[in-house]
């Protein structure tokens, strides 16, 4: 039934209007970043609500953990902590030595960057891109271009910031590239994402370049975005076909990109106050106790 008095504008006009506005958005996409950030601040409560079911599941899984499991986990963590603190003692010594040597050479001394732990929010993202959403935003000082790492290596960089959330582009995304260096011989390369979660491609590697399977790639700090020296990937395969002008080198990211939960946001230009990284008081005693038990 057609309304007797046609109201408003015709559907064709509405469609044309919608298409024109969409095209404007598509074309001006890069310039709309501030608008998008404020809009996504407005919409981020929705993301928090959508995250609730997943968070509830996690909570119930935690509260249902048996005493046995917790004890086992605790034991494992204590052992881990012991190993780590031993390594840290050596590291501290090496760091001082390194600083002295750098001082002798007149090179700038590295400083420890400020870091904050953020949690990945479980919300769906654009299926064509590889993003994760973090529960920290501009209110916590997160900025666009900020490097993000986890316990194993580099994860990616922040590409969008809203008030309470931020979006991280993973290093495996097809639009992401990171300058790397082989630890074995300091050869500089560029690791580009392939769109596959556990694969990076090293672009423009001459066939004569000394790259071997198993080489460790660390961030070279050349792009001025990622601080130097964080592990990125390990070389998985090197193929030198006659028909191609470059070698095909595939590497696997060290960070477990498919199951990241807690991440570290780095502030390369702000020095860390070590206070937040020292373990709480009880931990030291617990470690000592476990050491004594072991002896």
């Amino acid at each position: 039934m057609k309304p007797i008095f046609a109201r408003g504008i015709s559907n064709q006009f509405r469609l044309t209007l919608a298409i024109i506005m969409s095209v404007i958005l598509l074309v001006a996409n890069d310039r709309l970043e501030p608008v998008r950030n404020s809009l996504s601040s407005l919409l981020s409560p929705l993301q928090y609500v959508a995250n609730i079911p997943g968070a509830l599941l996690d909570l119930s899984a935690e509260s249902l953990a048996t005493r046995n499991m917790l004890a086992k986990q605790n034991k494992e963590l204590l052992r881990h902590q012991l190993l780590m603190s031993e390594r840290l003692q050596r590291f501290e010594h090496l760091r001082q030595e390194n600083d002295r040597l750098r001082g002798l050479l007149g090179s700038p001394v590295h400083m420890d960057a400020k870091k904050v732990v953020a949690e990945v929010m479980e919300v769906a993202s654009d299926p064509f891109r590889q993003y994760v959403v973090l529960n920290h935003g501009s209110r916590n000082g997160v900025f666009v271009g900020q490097p993000v790492v986890d316990a194993q290596g580099v994860v990616g960089q922040v590409v969008q910031v809203s008030e309470l959330t931020s979006r991280v582009l993973l290093i495996s995304d097809a639009t992401h590239g990171i300058p790397v260096r082989i630890t074995r011989n300091d050869v500089r390369l560029l690791a580009v994402g392939t769109g596959v979660l556990d694969e990076l491609e090293l672009r423009h590697v001459a066939k004569s370049t000394d790259v071997r399977v198993g080489d460790l790639l660390v961030s070279s700090g050349l792009g001025k975005r990622f601080p130097e020296g964080y592990p990125v990937a390990r070389v998985m395969s090197v193929e030198k076909e006659d028909g191609k002008s470059y070698a095909t080198v595939i590497a696997q990211p060290l960070a477990a990109l498919d199951r990241i939960r807690y991440l570290l946001l780095l502030w390369p230009d702000i020095e860390s106050d070590d206070a937040e990284l020292t373990p709480p008081a009880g931990v030291e005693e617990a470690i000592k106790a476990s050491q004594e038990n072991a002896q």
């Binding site: 209007l17 919608a18 958005l25 959508a50 919300v123 654009d126």
Partner: protein
């Protein structure tokens, strides 16, 4: 004249909000690809039931919101949604009178079209790799449509949405 007075707007927007939440809610990897396009289904229902109130520009607005929430290039889903809802608005009388299975089939085709348009614009704007899983949401939407239709019709009658 009372027929032209809008009623129960909040019900419609609440249903759209819930659909939006379902759209961005985390799912296990296994079923992620099969997620029905909730938002599209719900706006399709309202565009079919009240084509003079909820139509192309509503869909456009929802598309922009979805783009922002998903972190996609702005305008992709806005474009796709307005095109698909335009087809619904154009044929709303025919769609209303279809038997349920036929209606569900048409809606599934709409969802497939929507996903194709999203893929196509993405392909032109950035880059995208075609995967057959693009059409999975159409299948799951086919299954979900009768239920959504039933629930929303009850809601519409209960709150006398006009």
């Amino acid at each position: 004249m009372s027929i032209h007075v809008a009623n129960g707007r909040w019900v419609v927007w609440l249903s759209l909000l819930v659909a939006m939440l379902f759209q961005i809610m985390p799912l296990p990897d296994l079923v992620e690809a099969w997620r029905p396009d909730w938002l599209l289904l719900v706006i399709t229902y309202w565009a079919m039931a009240l084509p003079h109130r909820y139509n192309i520009l509503t869909a456009w607005l929802l598309g922009v919101m979805l783009d922002i929430l998903l972190g996609a290039t702005l305008g992709i889903r806005a474009f796709a949604m307005s095109v698909v809802v335009y087809v619904v608005v154009l044929h709303f009388q025919r769609l209303r009178n279809f038997p349920m299975w036929q209606q569900a089939l048409v809606v599934a085709m709409q969802v497939a079209l929507y996903n194709l348009v999203v893929f196509w614009v993405q392909f032109v704007a950035d880059s995208a790799v075609f995967d057959i899983s693009l059409f999975y949401p159409a299948v799951s939407s086919l299954i979900m449509w009768p239920w959504i239709f039933w629930i929303l019709r009850r809601v519409r009658r209960l709150y006398k949405v006009r």
